[in-house]
Symmetry: none
Subunit: 214 residues, 4 copies
DNA sequence: CATGAATGAGAGTTCATTCAT
DNA sequence: GATGAATGAACTCTCATTCAT
């Protein structure tokens, strides 16, 4: 499922996709540099030409996943659809991200704890590596909050505009994201439902509760 | 080469709760036997008097968590409430389980992969340990499916009885569980909302969507 | 967290000879990887670049010892000496193998039980390691039987040719090998007798009994 | 194969026979106190009521084995048979010891190294245990030399009396013992030959060489 | 860029041994 | 005597990481 180098040279992004794939199966700690390297026909030592260390590699995977996910959401927000329509498309987009690219999606849910415990952040080597990691990790978390805020604020705006009923928009947003993330766990390609159909159910479930009159 | 016998024996369940706590912070692979032992004032070696190995310890944590969660649900199902009332209480019960016992709840969500990849299942030691582990792990998964079925079937029955509108009960149940499990990730004691209040939002969100007329 | 690369690479066979030496003193179970590593100025971890695990290391030692021993015997068998002369040279060759290389010789006698009880054979890791070990171990035992058969058959042929008297050639061969192997236990360099002199006694003892007229 | 306690209480010798049995299969280092205890339906802790530690237990097994073996030899030496007849009976007796009681016999051959490396001898605890162990171990080795001397001297006397030809009696004695000990490795009950038959071959082999005229 | 060889650190696990009961 | 619980020490093995080539 990883994009193998078509011809010869491997580039950073090839490695990230491969890593996400392995991460999905084993989790950060159980994934070895050798595992990742094998997926792109390299040795573990060679990975260090591309990433400073394992923690940075993880960070890069997560950054990539988050960027892609957000990139799909922003056009929707910039459109002039109603909040109701926006939220529908956002849900659909997020669920599809999760079902069509489970590896990166799962990493973003399951490897946060590894990112938090990363030794690169703890072991202050007195140099710049440490700071760079912490800074980028903070940015990642900020960006992740921003991602969540897109949902939260759309609900909030919908309430303000009268499209949605009065709810605790922060918690409902979290409920929604929880439901979507969970899809990454149970969804299997070729199962009873396609990704689109799952998205339909999520849209129906959450828009119905938000637009209910009573 | 041995030393002092501690004041009092530690009990198996004490260890399990302590383990769940550590697991929540570090994840299975990053949690060492020493970490767990330290929480109950034992050495790592001593844990092996109580549990055959680390994998079995995890399995025991998960079994305990699931048993407790299910135990709270069954009385509700046996009552003669309406499906709507039952589901409300079930949601409340589950969310409270998660918020009041985040450690075990989180383990049940995040350590499933560790359970699946457990070496005890993979490495056949030619003895009985291997089979016991696989059997108990299978039972755990069965019981976990059973747990999910309690939600799924209550929704299904509610649809049949006309209390709920027509929905894909399997996917809605999963959405619900995803939302609840996610609570275990973001909920912090002493935050803006109590566990009860979070439960209120979940009840409102999901019962409203199920009982909506349109 | 890594350090200096040593001046020059150590070669696999260097390790095997060193291992045999340590094995001779301590026996398989009492020999640690660290012990072996120390003999070749490596760390225990480094040994794992050369051998999959301790069991494989043992297997390699035994294979090497047996190969060397057999290699010295085969030219003798292919010659056109009389059976009597052949057996004399075989005894001499075997005893000299044992006295000049007590370490490997002792391993072949004393570590067979360790090889039989090797965990690598018992614990099925679900992978290929397990099969490789068992296959190679079986080959070793076959080759060891072949080695014994060289003595057994030479005696048998000598009986058929009338050079030797009628004896139970299988048991006499085993008596001979037992006597030779035992040399590995008691022989010390610089003792009363040289390896050649010990060999002389063995040749005299066994050829005399085989060629006796009564 | 171990003598289990007929009724209830276990005595020292029961444990020794059981230990010899386990030792034969696993070797000293691979044999755990628990293994031995299990054979006599005790826990490992209970063994310490009978033996000071594992090294002493081994020493006791070896002492027992050696005592029994020597006990069978001494009446023969005290008789007024010819040296030739004496040696015949000694060989027969020794081979029968090995074939009929392989466990204790094997221990005496294979666990000497463990006895030599025993930590109880190395770790000077400043107390009496250390000295007792070393003393008894020295006695054991002396007694083992004495055992060997019985064969060596019988050959020597036979040469002096003219019954045997001139040979290096020390080495021939060792060859003989090596052959006999080796029987403990390959002999299996129910095989092609009985213990008596194996003894016959050994007697024939060694007496023939000693009595040969040329 | 890539890699083979090496290593420090640490993890899981085992085990002889002790001691209070 | 017997044992369950505990432990220090040690062992095998793994892994991220480095560096000379």
């Amino acid at each position: 499922m990883a994009r193998k180098p078509a011809d010869q040279s491997v580039n950073r992004e090839d490695i990230l996709w491969a890593a996400a794939e392995v991460l999905r199966h084993n989790g950060y700690d159980a994934t070895t540099m050798k595992d990742i390297a094998a997926q792109v026909d390299l040795t573990a030592a060679s990975l260090y030409h591309h990433f400073k260390n394992k923690d940075f590699l993880l960070l890069n995977v997560l950054e990539l996943g988050l960027d892609l996910t957000i990139a799909k959401l922003e056009p929707i927000l910039k459109s002039d659809l109603t909040y109701s329509e926006k939220l529908e498309q956002m849900i659909r987009s997020h669920v599809m991200s999760v079902t069509s690219n489970t590896a990166v999606g799962a990493a973003m849910v399951f490897e946060i704890r590894a990112l938090l415990n990363a030794k690169t952040a703890t072991k202050n080597d007195g140099g710049v590596t440490n700071h760079e990691f912490i800074d980028r990790r903070n940015s990642f978390f900020d960006r992740r909050d921003y991602f969540e805020s897109l949902f939260r604020n759309t609900i909030k705006s919908g309430i303000a505009s009268g499209e949605f009923r009065q709810v605790d928009h922060a918690v409902v947003a979290k409920a929604m994201l929880g439901a979507h993330n969970w899809v990454g766990i149970w969804y299997k390609d070729g199962g009873r439902l396609t990704g689109e159909q799952v998205a339909d159910v999520m849209v129906d479930t959450f828009l119905t509760t938000l637009k209910a009159t009573h």
